[in-house]
């Protein structure tokens, strides 16, 4: 009671003194800000205590570098993690406001495209919950991923200026700004002692200003931070240009510097050759390293200790320039010899690979690097020279191998291979699911694996249950809490305790009721956003993720078309009524993905308006997919579609979120689906289609014959032939004729027709099972067996195998922690 009173006073104080109005006069958005400021006060106190603890212990620090952090909303999770959700609710009650309504006012921090960025955000939550000194470093994009609007079924992109009103979570740290030179040339001179001294001349300077977002772990004992850098110009204006009378050029130059942190690049955009993206990547790396060094030098004088005190994890190749930047710093600024600098670099850096698609591996033209980062290119060339010498000594006369392993691709134009740079410069290279790691070793970079087998390891991705169950699915979280307590919040394996309830009719009924409540909620969202009325009793069949050919949204549409044609032409009613739910963004320049969005809308338009299908089929595309929307969709799903072509999805984490929320998976043997099947049991998941080996062989030996599948199976033929008609494009003839050609093309990389028949069969099995006690039992067992997929497990593995961390630093229990416990108790009692 007292705590709620104090919290209320804090909110009112911030309303008045941070926002300049009494609470009663604040807009809904400002009310959110006032609450966020009150929460931030607590975070700051806990963060300062955490930092003091780390400093006292001289802890090894983990720096997690990622070009994306897909954070979403923070308020709900912070309240859970600090244990003050009920306190806040009570305080807001006293002020005549509703916590859920306030929380809805928070804009998503959409600083990422999808899996890679969301993984980074989950990892930060786990690092803090496990009490580890681990922080994130990224870019403070002014514009996050674009907002998606739908106009006549077509995606339209609108800018997402999420910082327009500044974020109450961000703490600016201008006193820790750093200088980052870019461009220029290297002047090869000698120093005062006659030694070679390559000087970096004629550079331009960027200033990186950090903004911290505090990240509390569950229980509130540890509050780490995510440091995001904004770029600004070194001056208000270049007065030289200004004085020459060219005002606009002076302004333009200032704006160019500030453009660096302006916008997040959508994935799949053709970034190769895009200078701004390269500068962004270097900006991140350079700012981060300045900060790492600043912190390190507060307590240490010898760089021999560097790798014992610092671990840097590069999330994909975007921060791979860290290899060259760390070398540059050690050689040029700290005067270390090459060998010593190289050993420190390799012992400090570790690299996570996220993709198997060769076109997604970053390369930068040598000429561009020479212009933007001349000193770094020199260092990369020297790393390469030494590395190839080493390979040559081990494998003499194997020119092909040297060509494949070289950091420089001898193409036209010559390009620097960032994955090779990251691999050569790291002591650890990890994949993100078992099959993915295997494919890295055997297909992606087998030469490197053969050279350094000990450096390659697997760290299957994970998700934080604090966001994806406790926050996203309060109905299920409460049911679980009542059944087995709340130990699962920090030890997800405790969900195993639910197994004994899987066949209990009472528990099954409550489990189904929780699902139904989530489906009711989603039904409202579908009505409001997609303008589709659907039946919450129907099977919610959900395919939500980035729109990309390899994720095969098209395969899902083929199934819908099959069901529809069977119903209206054959009178074959589906075994269960279904609502097909899609959501996802297509990269603005990715024509095919945008066509798929149009196709989904057109198919939906026909089916949703056909009275013959009214009781059986609905198709909804929820626009502007983002973390907060995912938190609404995933808990309501019955069926989770994870149907990428085997061997293409590195891991996936959506698959884990759905299963944790009691959806059954229909999926290929790809990414983490394989491990999900191992955990939940083959009888509790619907698996179909080619294996990665089979798909690979089909490509390698050119065995894919879509025409044979088409001739052999009438169902396949029927669905494919739809695209020769204009059934789904009556006003835009031949709009989807390309799909007919693609599906029958032997070069269809994603092998749609090889899997279609098996997919349709698997969907029949799904329909037969839906609604039975067996379905609910399987759903409960899915939840119970998701322990492995917590990001806490993943982080523990990174800490043990890659960062070589000591045990986490537990703070002694204090009042805030006791407060957290009291809140949870009162929740249970309620």
């Amino acid at each position: 009671m007292k705590e709620a009173q104090e919290f209320q006073e804090s909110i009112e104080r911030h309303a008045r003194y941070s926002l300049g109005n009494p609470w009663s006069d604040l807009s809904a958005r400002d009310r959110f800000a006032a609450v966020a400021f009150a929460v931030r006060d607590r975070l700051i106190d806990l963060h300062l205590a955490t930092e003091q603890r780390y400093r006292k212990a001289d802890s090894k620090r983990i720096y997690y570098l990622s070009i994306e952090f897909l954070i979403g909303r923070s308020l709900g999770c912070h309240l859970h993690n600090l244990g003050i959700r009920e306190t806040c609710r009570q305080a807001l009650d006293n002020l005549g406001a509703d916590l859920e309504e306030i929380a809805e006012m928070e804009p998503d921090a959409a600083l990422g495209n999808g899996g890679l960025g969301r993984l980074a955000a989950c990892f930060l939550d786990s690092l803090a919950t496990l009490g580890m000194p681990g922080c994130g470093y990224g870019i403070n994009y002014e514009y996050g991923l674009f907002k998606q609007e739908i106009d006549d079924g077509y995606q339209r992109e609108k800018p997402d200026n999420w910082l327009a009103r500044s974020s109450p979570w961000q703490i600016p740290r201008p006193e820790e700004a750093c200088l980052v030179p870019v461009y220029g040339r290297v002047e090869r001179t000698v120093d005062r002692n006659g030694a070679y001294n390559p000087m970096w001349m004629d550079w331009k300077i960027l200033i990186g200003t950090p903004y911290d977002m505090l990240i509390p772990g569950y229980g509130g004992q540890t509050v780490n931070f995510l440091r995001l850098y904004s770029a600004r110009s070194s001056q208000e204006f270049d007065m030289g240009i200004f004085n020459d009378g060219d005002y606009f050029k002076a302004v333009e130059q200032k704006m160019t510097s500030e453009t660096i942190s302006k916008v997040l690049y959508p994935s799949d955009a053709m970034v190769a050759g895009q200078e701004l993206r390269l500068v962004q990547e270097y900006f991140l790396v350079a700012c981060t390293l300045r900060d790492i060094v600043r912190r390190f030098e507060q307590n240490h004088t010898s760089y021999e200790e560097f790798s014992a005190k610092i671990a840097i994890q590069m999330n994909d190749t975007h921060p791979a320039l860290m290899v060259a930047e760390l070398m540059r710093m050690l050689l040029d600024e700290k005067n270390l010899e090459w060998e010593q600098a190289w050993n420190i670099t390799r012992e400090t850096l570790a690299f996570t690979n996220h993709t198997l698609l060769p076109e997604a591996l970053e390369k930068w033209p040598v000429s561009l690097l020479e212009r933007v980062l001349p000193r770094h290119l020199e260092i990369i060339q020297e790393i390469n020279r030494r590395f190839l010498e080493q390979v040559s000594a081990l494998q003499p006369k194997d020119e092909d191998r040297l060509g494949r392993m070289s950091l420089i691709e001898e193409s036209d134009p010559r390009q620097v291979r960032m994955a090779n740079l990251a691999i050569v410069g790291s002591h650890s290279i990890n994949g993100v699911a078992e099959i993915h790691t295997q494919l890295i070793k055997t297909s992606l970079v087998p030469d490197f694996y053969n050279l350094w087998p000990g450096r390659f390891n697997n760290k299957t991705n994970g998700i934080t249950q604090r966001r994806w169950l406790l926050e996203a699915n309060p109905a299920l979280a409460e049911l679980i809490r009542n059944a087995i307590g709340d130990g699962w919040i920090t030890d997800l394996c405790q969900l195993r305790g639910l197994e004994k309830f899987a066949s209990d009719p009472g528990f099954q009924s409550r489990f189904a009721e929780a699902k139904r409540r989530n489906k009711d909620r989603l039904t409202g969202m579908i009505r409001e956003t997609a303008r589709v009325n659907c039946d919450p009793a129907s099977l919610f069949d959900v395919h939500v993720k980035r729109i990309h050919a390899y994720k095969r949204q098209l395969l899902k549409v083929l199934h819908i078309i099959y069901e529809y044609l069977s119903l209206i032409e054959d009178g074959r009613q589906p075994l269960a009524p279904r609502t097909y739910v899609f959501a996802g963004k297509a990269a603005p320049g990715y024509w095919m993905a945008k066509q798929i969005i149009k196709l989904i809308h057109n198919v939906g338009r026909v089916i949703n308006h056909d009275s013959r299908a009214a009781d059986w089929l609905k198709v909804a595309f929820i626009p502007d997919y983002r973390v907060s929307v995912a938190q609404r969709i995933i808990p309501a799903a019955d069926l989770s579609e994870q149907i990428s072509t085997a061997g293409t999805e590195a891991s996936g984490t959506g698959n884990m979120k759905f299963a944790l929320n009691g959806a059954l998976t229909i999926g290929t043997l790809d990414g983490a689906n394989i491990e999900i099947r191992e955990q939940v049991g083959a009888e509790n998941i619907f698996v179909f289609g080619l294996t990665a080996d089979q798909a690979q062989a089909m490509h390698r030996e050119r065995l894919y014959r879509p025409r044979e599948s088409y001739d052999r199976d009438q169902r396949v033929r029927r669905v494919v032939d739809v695209f020769r008609s204009n059934l789904f494009s009556p006003t835009e003839p031949d709009l989807f004729a390309w799909i007919h050609r693609t599906l029958l093309d032997e070069n269809d990389t994603f092998l749609h027709l090889a899997d279609l028949a098996a997919y349709l069969d698997a969907q029949d099995t799904v329909a037969r099972a839906f609604g039975s006690a067996g379905w609910t039992r399987a759903a409960i067992l899915n939840v119970a067996r998701m322990g492995k997929f917590s990001s806490d497990r993943a982080i523990r593995e990174y800490a043990r195998d890659i960062w070589h961390m000591e045990a986490s630093l537990e703070a002694p229990p204090d009042e805030s922690h006791n407060g957290a416990r009291m809140d949870e108790v009162s929740l249970r009692a309620g």
């Binding site: 030179p181 005062r192 030694a195 390559p198 300077i205 001056q235 270049d238 007065m239 030289g240 040029d332």
Partner: protein, 115 residues
């Protein structure tokens, strides 16, 4: 630009009189320090006031150094802020110049060389 010069035992100590030495004023600095370099072979730049220097500012100092060494003189720097020092190190210019914490240290270094 008015550059204060102090003579200490045969060494000219010039105080760089700006907070920022960059494209807007480095040309002026080079022009105004020119006569000093003509007359004095042993020069110290006191950078105590300087908070920021860009590549043209560094270029101006490098040019002064080269001018002096070409005729057997030298240029030493002193009283650099942390931020300016960091920039020198970033681009390896700290290996070209002799850098001292204080102007006394810099002058003394000249005098010891002379002795």
């Amino acid at each position: 630009m008015e550059i204060p010069i102090e003579k200490v035992g045969g060494v000219a100590v010039a105080t760089v009189p700006v907070d920022e030495l960059d494209a807007s004023n480095s040309g002026e600095f080079k022009r105004d320090i020119g006569p000093v370099l003509q007359l004095q072979p042993r020069v110290v730049f006191d950078l105590g006031q300087l908070r920021f220097v860009d590549s043209s500012g560094l270029g101006a100092m490098l040019s002064c150094l080269r001018q002096l060494t070409a005729k057997g003189g030298d240029l030493k720097l002193c009283s650099m802020s942390k931020q300016v020092r960091a920039l020198f190190e970033l681009v390896r210019m700290h290996r070209i110049f002799e850098i001292y914490n204080t102007r006394q240290d810099a002058v003394q270094a000249f005098q010891q060389q002379h002795a």
